[in-house]
Symmetry: C3
Subunit: 344 residues, 3 copies
Amino acid sequence: MSKITTRFTLAELAQHIGAELVGNPQHEISSLATLQAATQNDLSFIANPAYKKHLSSTQAGAVICAPDLAEAIAGNKLIVANPYLCYAQLTALFNSPVSSVGVHESAVVGKNCVLGKDVWIQPNAVIGDNVNLGDGVVIGAGAVVGTNSSIGARTRLYANVTVYHDISIGEDCIFHSGCVIGADGFGFAPASTGWMKIHQLGSVVIGNNVEIGANTTIDRGALDNTFIDDGVIIDNLVQIGHNVRLGKNTAIAAHTAIAGSTTIGDNCTIAGAVAIAGHVTLADRVHITGMSMVSNSISEAGSYSSGVPLGPTKEWRKNAARFRQLDSLATRIIKLARKAPEDE
Amino acid sequence: MSKITTRFTLAELAQHIGAELVGNPQHEISSLATLQAATQNDLSFIANPAYKKHLSSTQAGAVICAPDLAEAIAGNKLIVANPYLCYAQLTALFNSPVSSVGVHESAVVGKNCVLGKDVWIQPNAVIGDNVNLGDGVVIGAGAVVGTNSSIGARTRLYANVTVYHDISIGEDCIFHSGCVIGADGFGFAPASTGWMKIHQLGSVVIGNNVEIGANTTIDRGALDNTFIDDGVIIDNLVQIGHNVRLGKNTAIAAHTAIAGSTTIGDNCTIAGAVAIAGHVTLADRVHITGMSMVSNSISEAGSYSSGVPLGPTKEWRKNAARFRQLDSLATRIIKLARKAPEDE
Amino acid sequence: MSKITTRFTLAELAQHIGAELVGNPQHEISSLATLQAATQNDLSFIANPAYKKHLSSTQAGAVICAPDLAEAIAGNKLIVANPYLCYAQLTALFNSPVSSVGVHESAVVGKNCVLGKDVWIQPNAVIGDNVNLGDGVVIGAGAVVGTNSSIGARTRLYANVTVYHDISIGEDCIFHSGCVIGADGFGFAPASTGWMKIHQLGSVVIGNNVEIGANTTIDRGALDNTFIDDGVIIDNLVQIGHNVRLGKNTAIAAHTAIAGSTTIGDNCTIAGAVAIAGHVTLADRVHITGMSMVSNSISEAGSYSSGVPLGPTKEWRKNAARFRQLDSLATRIIKLARKAPEDE
């Protein structure tokens, strides 16, 4: 499993992230590592004060730090205003994905497709008719892109992604394996004989710089389109119902479900395992904590939560049983309080 | 991205859905749209009174409505008893999926398979040995059907669906991309050395007119079969455990999990993100609201719920902390009430 | 759908599981079945006392039972200390998966791969460059294994599994269809222009005897690896975030989500639809009941729960509304109690 490793001097790295270098400019770095795991060949960083305790023992070849922590580091250091952001920037430098161009002979490309420059279509991928792929697009092994869909420049679909027909995807996006874009929304009308399918005639429109996690599903719209704006990031196993609209730079963690026709504003963060009802609207900069149930619209920015805390099962059972009496208990308290008026 | 569009006159559409037409019978319609988005070429509908406000401004070429709303519509109208159902019916008319027949040269079909008339097997699909595909079956690109499985007439598997071995699927079903039918149920016996696998010897039997959402998983039974009855509709990312039985026309929304050996009656609706314990039974016509936890059997039809409402995180924290004291608080109330007997 | 069936005498089966046989040693058994469904050709078992009621009416050719239930069985019986474990053991005997060896001509295998003895690569599977597959490895139809990954002997990937690059998987594992191993963890740094991607430079390391359910996702680490120890069993649609560590023989049921950098001990059982926050630690032998929200570390073995019980929607609404007043109600109770001091 030999990999090509690129080496950079601390001087080069300091220049790349605009850091003040204190230490040996010729020291060579071949990768990034945590403070605990780093060796002399690794560059590390400190962004979270909880990790300060590792500064004295780290073997890192250098540490990226904010000015206030520089003194605590004995070895080479790269001093910057925002160490976490610089670390993010450097992960791109040390990331060396396999890259190639061309259409593998086992891939199947339909009629009337337009393929940009340097497109790479991996083995056994299937591209339908009338598909547009921008320059530098990568279609992973076994991925399928449906008829009439278009994918913007430099967007990458990993292996076994499925994009249905008539879908529009922007530039510089990343779609992880197993995600499904454009399956039918869950639309059925009750009829005397059972459910009558409402064929989903809308599509999905996805902006630029969007990342979609593994096995996430984004349904096509019923009549209008489902819409994901620029800069949205979505984790794994997330469900986005038909006609949902997600605003710019909104982030959604794993296992969250958003029901149909809901609109979420810009710069929201939705934590993991949240469920959001259909036909509601969330304002910009709304933050929902993990496993919350969102049943109504939220018109003001801020942090919102629901759920009950974990406890030993034996204690929890007693408390949970009382939940069912909560309304009658509350009524009793109010009556008691009426008789014994509170004096402060 | 040119699509063939079919045009219908209002007279034709009125006849198709049995509507009373008020307006110009020769007006031509090329698609369906919401009241807000519709142009003169579009047919719209009103089923939800909340959308009445859009009736005065809609540019729709015609609107499907119930008799009581007919007066509110100035333009062409199609008057019917159930506008939503007629809209559903028309989506089939305006849906123009790509359609073809034949086995693509890149697909792999095993030995002793029986393929009905007009079967369409798309590129890179894989069909195991001894598989039966009924007339008009569509197997999407990259989909896999295991040995000895059978799929009824007109059923469609979208791209990258996986059906394991020995599975039986009925007619007129739709399976969306990434769904997995017949993986092993989660069965293990605790042994001194760890978990011993219980090989799952049962199968999955699915009726007619069933729709399964993207990335949904339906496990095969341990000894008996997992069973999905006719007309069941299941949304995306749903888990159906081994030996579950789902009754006729039951609907299950996204992200719901049903643990093993649970039986759900006919005509139930299970909303999204619900978790249902194993080995319980739900009667017919049980409705579970979103994100509920179902731990016990339910013997009576009706609507059931659990969960706590969302609030600002700061307030929620205080309330959630009190949940842990609920039993002791309740005990105190009961004592206090005993001392100050309630007089009404 | 003819299948080859193997037949065993009760004498052979008794020997295989070390049972005391009471009855006809020459009686032949061709499969396993539940007490209710069994015929004279089937072997059944009783492990759960709730099924005792079926003992008198079962048509099973023989029943595996513990000594204390032997008297209740009139027909042939196989008496053992642990009937459930013996049933698990016998499922392997009666399981007859299709088996083969060789690389299908439609599969694509990259450069510099090392394939062990008796490897079976099914149609349209794709293996990247520099991949190691141990003896007897099975790669399902349409499955994809990324560059530089290695898979230990006898491990089976079902159809449409995706393994990313640089992943290490042990021996005797089972990966069900649609699971995705090694997609990028959800790591982004907030920048003034939106989210900056933190390229995920770590990998996933999986031990021996691990089973991963359908459509489950296990993300690669940010810098260090995500780590799954020997004997771990994971159900369907589970999310394992980057840098999570799962201890030996831990079991995780369907639809559970574990956020990044969380460590879970050995021999834990996490029920279905649980959400576990990031950066927490669970001790060995911690058991979490279904749909619990785990926000903090747990340092002691034991059973833990959260959530509120289901009720009729009408009643639930009243109780849920009171949850929002819980803190103020509690304050009132405390005040009232202060005025009316409790005398015991």
